[in-house]
Symmetry: C2
Subunit: 133 residues, 2 copies
């Protein structure tokens, strides 16, 4: 039987996580390679619902630092690695909607529905645009 | 008619907000005095739902830096001031559940339901413990 380290056992039992621990958490592809990190979260102000995790893939995609908002539900937490797994390959990520840092504020603004349609359309295979966007 | 500054009009139209903008946002009492800031968020890992805003009241309550998890729904966003209003007076805040920083991780752990009961019981006048805690 594998003995879990203390950090791992804490992680696996944790229902709630601090935002400060999500931001900066590593992101892996399905093969377990580190491909970036979660840079920020996009949260619905009224309900507190996290709509997107804002991923940064740094140099991994060969496009400099751009930010990919990914629907929260797409991410899987990997207890052993202490980070999140994105179930997409490099080409799928490269083609996904991404923005400069200064564009991220607009994501939640008057055009949030257009952003949402574009993002959820892209990730459509993983689920439809939620009714609240 | 009042002319909104650009920052204010952005704020008032924003349905989604970046986590990095919530953390560090000032917190006011009903009289409009700054009493602290939002230090962190406690987020349900599976659903992405923000359960608590973790408030820091620094020296305001005269108890050194302690952290008060407050149900997200209690906070009101004040567009003009660019921060959150807590509808509680100083004595109510001082008596509210608060923790050292190193205790905050436990908030989401195996005892999350006990933490939740204590916190929601205290703020009971503002609404019951949600069924998901």
């Amino acid at each position: 039987m594998i003995q879990l380290s203390s950090a791992e056992s804490v992680d696996s039992e944790h229902r709630l996580i601090l935002g400060s621990r999500v931001e900066g958490a590593p992101v892996f592809n399905r093969a377990g390679e580190t491909i970036g990190h979660i840079d920020d979260l996009s949260i619905e102000r009224l309900t507190g619902r996290t709509v997107y995790a804002i991923m940064s893939f740094g140099g991994f995609l060969g496009i400099g630092e751009k930010f990919h908002p990914i629907p929260w539900g797409l991410l899987e937490y990997d207890v052993e690695r202490g980070g999140y797994v994105v179930p997409l390959d490099k080409a799928e990520l490269k083609g996904a909607p991404h923005y400069e840092r200064e564009e991220l504020v607009a994501l939640g603004g008057p055009s949030h529905a257009q952003f949402g349609e574009r993002i959820y359309d892209y990730y459509g295979a993983y689920g439809p645009l939620p009714p609240y966007l």
